[in-house]
């Protein structure tokens, strides 16, 4: 019998060790203007004063003078595009209503992302409607016109044209061929100018290693779907490593008991902190950061010799050509060893593709390091920074200040833009023309879906102007593409715009000589502490720190919102007498501690991407009342910036730092967690259920007992909507959480409200630990309204504000709700959310992102997951218009659409052939709290757990 638990103080002192009242720091008044809300419906309204004795305000409706082709008020139009929230370059379908994008969805046909879209991608749409986005160029912090900016900058540049090596162009990874070309063109005008790419979340060592072993400096493309054994050394490929959506899709495809023929892919994770990927591993080995490279070497040895000692080697050797070994190590030597292992196992050309390499990471840390050195030495006369923020995310990035001319292309006033002499704001991707080639042979297109808001100018246009050949971005892009596809270009172009990408036939695999690397000197692991810097799936490198959705998104593992923190192993924390929320000092950084089960004893882990100046805007997040507490930390920002703690070591940016002793400061900082302490108690509650592959093979199809106490008054003829959630596939990546928030106009409530457990997310992901705290197993469970057939909430509502529909939906009628909260109390799943305050905001620009098909809830009403009833209605209406029935898969809920793992399936239970009906019959299906007979419409598919056990490396 397994015992799940969720935090340590209760693990230590049993389920009942919590102060009756959590400590609340003294509140400080936060001034904030009233919030209201503007509903943007099919037309744009100019609300007027009451006309005469009329009761309702007069509404004005201004139709277009000339109706654009194919655009009808109230009808959504989808445009294919490409996500630029990170270099992974997932395919997008942009949903627009009446000329404004309101939601980003994954493009199911896209060969890289395969229909999924991560939380960051989902949230990035909010950037378009960001009030604080730069609207025109700045010179010395003052707003100027483009002409002034151009003239001033060109004047400065002319003097530099002949100066050798004076000009540097610094960018993040550029996946866009056009932009790369444009930069090249621009730099042609200078002697020995250089375009330098770096990644704040660098994988430079992998590229360097392939330079050594295969002679090409590229990042190979990992094909998880082809792997049967996956061994990952600290690579959080499901969370935030390179291309999580792509990897998650492949990974879950390889581990889906319904679809894949056994054996399911076996996954071992060797890591020092609890990562999302580690939480899914069949075998999780906890090793100190400085031991991991050693373990790689040992594995390499075993593979070389062909005499496996450990389980890993044994399984790997058994699966030659069907295995995949990867490492996030930033030591090129180690990476070379990894290549050697994969080479020996014959994984190149099978699970690892070098012929169609990935361009999602192109950064070269050595170049970046040199750049900073030159800048420090004052060798650089002009520095252009695009899609990067070195001052914030590079150790020693401050050196940029010494460059006499810094030109930034940032969309917002980030750290680098703040010190730049000129800022020439680039456009938001949804306003831009462009392209992206995340993986060799797959080139996505970017097309504008809205008129630019504000006087920004695309990077390529700006460069074209400076290169003396001003042209609109559209032409520049088309020209580049025309060169690639000269014949029948127009049709090709049309087709590409429609599909959103162009895919080239894969190249024939070419034989490459493999140069065995010299074995690295074994760095003996000293028994000291080490600090690990890592990106979270929500905040990545901090480029989206302006985004309140991402700040309020609970970390998939710790469930902390609105802050980063130093996580410590339970044992270590115990020794140091540190508890959750104690502020500790690590390598000069002071931040609150979080005790993280499954972390290595000598490891402190801190998330990157926080403490950015972009987060200063959240002073007013959350409602204002006498006991409200501020959202911002003591530093006036959200969290603390850990990037300066990284360091360059022989040519690569290292995120591990040895010899840092965490010290207790005695101060406390209360974190806002959506889910904390307490266990499932023992005996364990059957909320998360597991099944072994053997049991599953022999499991009988699930059925439902139908004892009826009452007369059968409610037959569900017609549709009967239902959903299944595959707990085995779900990685907890939280894409669905944001997707739901965007789709359903869920408000951001701010840190204090989350701290008071009033987060509004309709879709939450419960996370449970089981087993010993030093090496627990983890289960993720998406939880939301279960749409019970015998819903407790419905019976108790006095005003019929929540009742059952003829299609099995548990309806919540906001306008009828008086807010007794009885329904929430009587909900066994606590899936209901109450509007404690007027959470809707007055920000007219940001409100343009609101979904016009979903009512924005006012203060005092209850709300909850609706199974995206607006989508159901739309599908039904459309089907009705076309005079046909709704097809299976036609209605996709927002969470289902975004899920990279395809864990969520929605459909009509009354259609026996529908996917959901089939999965409901699966031997893995169970219902949460079945015993109280509330008859949920949501079925969960059991976790397929293969007890790999855990041990310390």
């Amino acid at each position: 019998m397994q015992h799940y638990w969720k935090s340590l103080e209760e693990r230590e002192h049993g389920a009942l060790a919590e102060g009756e009242f959590p400590e609340n720091p003294l509140q400080t008044p936060a001034g904030r203007n009233r919030r209201g809300f503007l509903k943007a419906a099919g037309f744009s309204f100019a609300s007027a004063v009451l006309a005469g004795c009329r009761r309702a305000p007069v509404g004005k409706a201004a139709p277009n003078l000339v109706q654009p082709e194919g655009i009808l008020p109230g009808r959504a139009v989808y445009y294919a595009s490409t996500c630029t929230a990170c270099p992974a370059g997932c395919g997008l379908l942009v949903k627009t209503r009446d000329g404004r994008p309101i939601k980003l969805e994954g493009n199911p046909e896209h060969p890289v992302s395969r229909g999924g879209l991560c939380a960051v991608g989902q949230a990035s749409i909010l950037g378009l409607y960001d009030r604080l986005r730069l609207k025109q160029p700045l010179a010395g912090g003052k707003a100027v016109t483009w002409d002034e900016a151009d003239r001033a900058i060109l004047a400065r540049l002319d003097s530099l044209r002949s100066l050798p090596g004076a000009v540097r162009f610094l960018t993040g990874t550029i996946t866009s061929p056009t932009v790369a070309w444009a930069i090249g063109q621009f730099l042609k005008g200078f002697r020995e100018a250089q375009h330098i790419q770096y990644d704040a979340l660098s994988s430079s060592a992998i590229l360097d290693a392939h330079q050594r072993t295969h002679g090409v400096r590229v990042l190979p493309r990992y094909r998880f779907e082809k792997a049967e054994v996956i061994v990952s050394f600290d690579a959080d490929f499901l969370g935030a490593w390179i291309s999580p959506v792509e990897f998650t899709a492949g990974y879950s495809a390889a581990r889906n008991p319904e679809l894949t023929t056994p054996p399911l892919a076996w996954h071992a994770q060797i890591e020092s902190r609890m990562s999302l990927t580690g939480s899914k591993a069949d075998r999780r080995i906890i090793a100190a950061p400085d031991e991991i490279d050693g373990l790689v070497a040992r594995l390499a040895g075993e593979i070389e010799s062909g005499r496996p000692e450990g389980e890993l080697a044994r399984r790997l050797l058994a699966a030659r050509g069907r295995s995949l070994v990867l490492s996030a190590s930033q030591d090129p030597a180690t990476q070379a060893l990894v290549n050697q292992i994969n080479h020996r196992l014959g994984n190149y050309g099978a699970t690892i593709d070098l012929d169609q390499p990935s361009y999602q990471r192109r950064g070269n840390d050595r170049d970046a390091e040199n750049l900073l050195r030159e800048a420090d030495a004052g060798k650089i006369a002009a520095l252009f920074v695009a899609g990067a923020n070195p001052v914030y995310d590079l150790p020693g990035g401050e050196a940029v200040r010494k460059v006499p001319l810094v030109v930034s292309f940032a969309e917002r006033l980030d750290e680098t833009a703040a010190i730049a002499h000129y800022v020439c704001p680039d456009r938001h991707a949804l306003e831009s023309w462009g392209d992206a080639e995340p993986v060799s042979g797959v080139t996505g297109i970017l097309q504008p879906v809205i008129q630019p808001l504000g006087g920004t100018r695309q990077l390529v246009e700006t460069l074209a102007v400076w290169a003396g050949a001003p042209r609109p971005a559209c032409e520049i892009v088309r020209e580049r593409w025309r060169e690639q596809h000269p014949d029948d270009f127009e049709n090709f172009w049309e087709a590409t715009l429609e599909r959103g990408f162009a895919a080239r036939e894969p190249k024939q695999p070419q034989a490459r000589a493999f140069v065995s690397p010299q074995p690295p000197r074994q760095n003996t692991s000293q028994a000291g502490w080490s600090l690990v810097l890592y990106p979270t799936p929500g905040m990545l490198d901090g480029r989206h720190a302006y985004n309140p959705w991402l700040h309020e998104l609970p970390d998939p593992i710790t469930k902390v919102t609105w802050d980063n923190y130093a996580s410590l192993a339970p044992g270590a924390a115990g020794k140091l007498g540190i508890t959750d929320g104690d502020v500790i000092r690590v390598a000069g950084l002071e931040l609150p501690a979080v005790i993280q089960p499954g972390q290595h004893e000598r490891t402190v882990a801190v998330a990157l991407g926080y403490g950015s100046r972009l987060s200063e805007r959240f002073a007013q997040a959350g409602p204002e009342w006498i006991e409200a507490l501020p959202t911002l930390g003591p530093n006036g920002r959200i969290g603390w910036n850990a990037a300066p703690l990284a360091r360059f070591e022989n040519g690569s940016l290292r995120y591990v730092r040895a010899g840092v002793e965490p010290v207790k400061t005695g101060r406390r900082w209360e974190l806002a967690r959506t889910q904390d302490h307490h266990s499932l108690g023992s005996p364990r509650r059957p909320i998360i259920q597991e099944i072994s592959p053997e049991e599953f093979a022999t499991a009988r199809p699930a059925g439902d007992p139908r004892e009826e106490l009452w007369p059968p008054d409610h037959p569900f003829t017609g549709h009967r909507w239902a959903m299944t959630v595959d707990l085995n596939a779900c990685t907890g990546c939280s894409a669905c959480v944001i997707a739901c928030q965007v789709e359903n106009n869920t408000p951001v409530v701010g840190k204090d409200e989350v701290r008071r457990k009033r987060e509004m997310h309709w879709m939450r992901i419960d996370r449970y630990y089981s087993g010993p705290p030093e090496a627990p197993e983890v289960a993720h469970q998406p939880m939301f309204c279960q749409q019970c057939e015998h819903a407790g909430c419905e019976t108790v509502c006095p005003v019929l504000a929540t009742v059952h529909s003829e299609e099995g939906l548990n309806q919540q009628v906001y306008n009828r709700c008086v807010g007794t909260r009885y329904c929430a109390n009587n909900c066994a799943y606590k899936a209901r959310r109450f509007n404690w305050f007027e959470y809707a905001r007055q920000d007219r620009l940001a409100n343009l992102v609101l979904n016009p098909d979903v009512t924005v809830r006012s203060r005092g009403v209850m709300e909850k997951c609706t199974f995206c009833v607006q989508r159901i209605q739309e599908a039904k209406m459309e089907a009705r218009r076309l005079g046909r029935a709704v097809r299976d898969g036609e209605v996709q809920t927002a969470c289902q659409q975004s899920c990279p793992a395809g864990a969520i399936v929605f459909g009509d239970l009354n259609d026996p052939k529908s996917r959901v009906a089939q999965l409901m019959r699966s031997g893995r299906r169970y219902r949460v709290l079945e015993e109280i007979n509330s008859r949920p419409s949501v079925g969960y598919l059991k976790v397929v757990r293969r007890r790999g056990g855990q041990r310390h490396g």
Partner: protein, 176 residues
Amino acid sequence: MNRRVLVGIFTCEEDILGATRAARARGLRVVDVFAPYAVHGMDRAMGLRPSRLSLVCLLAGATGAVLKLWFEIWTAAVDWPVNVGGKPWNSLPAFVPITFEVMVLFAGLATVAAFLLKAGLRPGRKPRLVDPRITDDRFALVLEQADASFDVDSVRGLLSRFNATEVEERVEEGRR
């Protein structure tokens, strides 16, 4: 129409009771008896018929209950049947509590209303006090001098036997 009455004032329960009984034994017509509190046994002494208020109470209660029950079933199962938590259209058990409450409400209010009407009590009614101390500590027996056979002196004697503090003749105009 005016009539002459004989009023006897007493100071204690036993006396007034005795006097009333005696007077009726003599066949005198007792117009009314006044007391500061409900004198036990006075109804028998005066020979009052048992009140029919209980009947009102019963009927009103029954009406209330029936109406409410019908209304609940009609709204929940007939007028607009809504699926509430999979409960049957006519969830009779759930309708019982309110039915009961409404029954009590009807019964109570109706009874009191009936009482006030019957007793002619209403706001603004000028009390006709036989003696100002009736509501304090005095009891009064009012006898009608129906006809000539009414012998004032003997009646005075009778009343004083029950130590009436004072006995006086009055002319009472109109009926209450």
